[in-house]
């Protein structure tokens, strides 16, 4: 084992049953170079205070549970390493723009509702039976949507987007990326059905192209582009209504 160093970790604590508001608490954590911020938090929970509360599971940046603000920046704590902050103090807080339930755990119910509202499933363009085998998808068709399938629902982009903080009803970058993923899939024909939401008051026009969402996205989904491309789509849909009785959704 390499030499043990001690790093100072400041944690934003909040216990709804005893606290009026969150406060910072300092822990001194021994660490090795391979330790992530998540492992730092686990160390605290195992050794100092079992009541420290946070979500985690996979430790490999794929389940999307462990997002938090690390020195003010939304990051996955399992792929952020303590060594990169040492010898400075590191501050971890619950993700911005979400209500805090307890310590680092935020209320995600709003996000889940948004996710459910976008019809995130194939609405078949052409039905196909299992006996007919798979749909054929050319590399070009595949490349159109594959990037937007990488979203792990970590909501870091929500923690990054000030418009989400200012208007909690805004459908937000992550859900829009997923919506766009289905719209762009050659198997799907549901774009018109999803347009209602895209073009609604909760929809894409809440976005002012801050683009920080794409900056923090750990999976390079580029949700900002999904949101913004859909502004153009929604605008087209808006004006097309006037041109043809069939064009556009209601």
């Amino acid at each position: 084992m390499s030499e043990q160093k001690i790093i100072e970790i400041e944690v934003l604590r909040y216990n709804p049953e005893t606290d009026q508001e969150p406060h910072l608490e300092l822990f001194k954590v021994p660490f090795t170079d391979d330790m992530s911020v998540l492992q730092g938090a686990q160390y605290i929970k195992d050794n100092f205070d079992g009541s420290l509360t946070f979500r985690w599971s996979c430790r490999m940046a794929i389940c999307g549970s462990c997002g938090m603000m690390i020195n003010g920046i939304p990051k996955l704590s399992c792929e952020t390493f303590l060594r990169d902050y040492y010898p400075n103090r590191i501050r971890i807080e619950a993700m911005s723009n979400f209500p805090i339930e307890k310590d680092l755990v935020v209320d995600l119910s709003g996000f889940i509702e948004k996710l459910e509202s976008i019809k995130p499933y194939i609405i078949p363009r052409e039905p196909r039976t299992l006996e007919q085998g798979e749909y054929i998808q050319s590399p070009e068709e595949f490349n159109k949507y594959i990037q937007f399938t990488s979203c792990i629902n970590c909501t870091l982009c929500y923690a990054a987007c000030p418009q989400v903080g200012l208007n909690p009803d805004f459908i937000g970058p992550g859900a829009m990326a997923l919506l766009h993923r289905y719209n762009m899939d050659s198997r799907d024909g549901g774009a018109a059905q999803r347009m209602e939401l895209v073009a609604s008051e909760e929809g894409v026009y809440n976005c002012s192209a801050v683009a920080y969402c794409s900056e923090v996205c750990p999976k390079h989904v580029d949700p900002a582009s999904a949101v913004n491309i859909n502004k153009a789509n929604a605008a087209k849909d808006y004006f097309l209504r006037f041109l043809s009785p069939k064009g556009g959704s209601k």
Partner: protein, 132 residues
């Protein structure tokens, strides 16, 4: 009875908390520079409509040192607007596919900036032609 008590943090001063947001606010503020200039221009158009004397007075006013300094500031703002506008272009427009690959954002922004420079120069050339 549930003991939940979710705590909602205030958004006050959010834009001061991250250098990224400070930059965003600066680039948003370039709209004010553009607006200010367009306003001056609008005055010019009105003066043009009022006849030669009015027009010349407007031209004269532009020559004051204060005006020139103001325009230097406006120029800086306008250039920053151009730069920031095209910097976010890659996310605001559908991906450009070249040879089966998505064009890198830097390439797109770079190209757009070149186009903007060309547009400016074309305008200059046009004005030059009118002048001759």
């Amino acid at each position: 009875m549930s003991k939940r008590k979710p705590y909602v943090r205030s958004m006050d001063g959010w834009w001061k908390k991250n250098p990224y947001f400070v930059e965003y606010m600066i680039h948003e503020s370039t709209a004010l520079f553009v607006a200010a200039y367009v306003f001056i221009l609008l005055v010019g158009v009105v003066r043009l409509g009022q006849g030669e004397a009015a027009w010349n007075a407007w031209l004269e006013a532009l020559k004051s040192p204060l005006s020139v300094v103001c325009h230097l500031v406006l120029l800086a703002g306008a250039v920053y607007h151009t730069y920031s506008w095209f910097k976010i272009l890659p996310i605001t427009m559908p991906p450009v596919i070249v040879g089966g690959k998505k064009l890198a954002p830097e390439v797109l922004t770079g190209t757009a900036l070149v186009v903007a420079a060309a547009a400016g120069l074309a305008l200059l050339a046009l004005v030059w032609r009118i002048a001759l």
